[in-house]
Symmetry: C2
Subunit: 134 residues, 2 copies
DNA sequence: GTGCCACCTGTAGCGCACTACAGGTCAAAC
DNA sequence: GTTTGACCTGTAGTGCGCTACAGGTGGCAC
């Protein structure tokens, strides 16, 4: 079964899982960063290892990492992503997860609005330069 | 004459200029950051000093700093802001300024679009948590 | 004339999010 | 059996954008 993870990540994960390099390529997160995320407790569990001690990522791991990417790329801090992971490990924390996510959403929305305000000013400046160069 | 600089910054600058603390309060840029920007060559000229060697900001300085704030808050690097300042010091660089600004605009737009894509996914997650908590 | 305070310069330090080794293991390829 | 290469752990280093001193000056208030 193939699944959309990030909008652009659709992949069939084999039963033996994916290597760290494959996950890096699929998600755009660097290999070192993936190990760093794990060290920092951002993954739900330490990624399972094969007989040789190498990480093998399965579908759930990949989906979670794609979630991290979305949070990260919208500016959530490592600390808050860790908080989210901590909550998701425990039952009955749905309210807190919702709060964390909702606060994040508000911050992102505010940021987008500010950016668009600034963008209009920048575009006005561009228009003036274009006008003066004709 | 009172003037809008940042949308939220409308101020009558007295003839003797404003102190660094006043500019900091008006623009939201910290005092140390203002000095840092100057050191880094982000201002068009070194801010003029009074008899005691203190910075006195006039309307043009304030307007430029507000411009920096917009660029900065839309993610332009210090290096690119310096490039912009360097260009604005020289005549006949209008084409390059336009290019720099246009490239920045493209990057910001791409970033906003990506953020909004992620935001939709985050909102879907929020909706699911809200549904499950009823 | 002595506090006091806002400001100055110069330099060092910090927080964040990675990123880059060094030195080692394991399994398949030759 | 040795070479290769992807991976491992642990720790140190990096780049960015500030931020925080330390030590000093100038000017006004009392």
């Amino acid at each position: 079964m193939s699944e959309v993870l990030l909008p652009e990540v659709t992949v069939e994960v084999p039963p033996e899982g994916l290597s760290i390099t494959e996950v890096s390529r699929l998600t755009g997160v660097g290999v070192e960063a993936l190990r760093y995320y794990e060290r920092e407790g951002l993954l739900l569990d330490p990624t399972p290892r094969d007989s040789g001690g190498r990480r093998r990522y399965h579908e759930g791991d990949l989906a979670w990492i794609c979630g991290l990417v979305m949070l990260r790329e919208t500016g959530m801090s490592i600390a808050d992503m860790r908080r989210m992971a901590d909550l998701c490990r425990r039952d009955g924390t749905e309210k807190e997860r919702l709060e964390l996510l909702t606060r994040h959403r508000e911050r992102v929305l505010a940021e987008v609005r500010r950016t668009q305000r600034h963008l209009r000013a920048i575009e006005a400046k561009i228009t003036r330069y274009e006008a003066s160069s004709t």
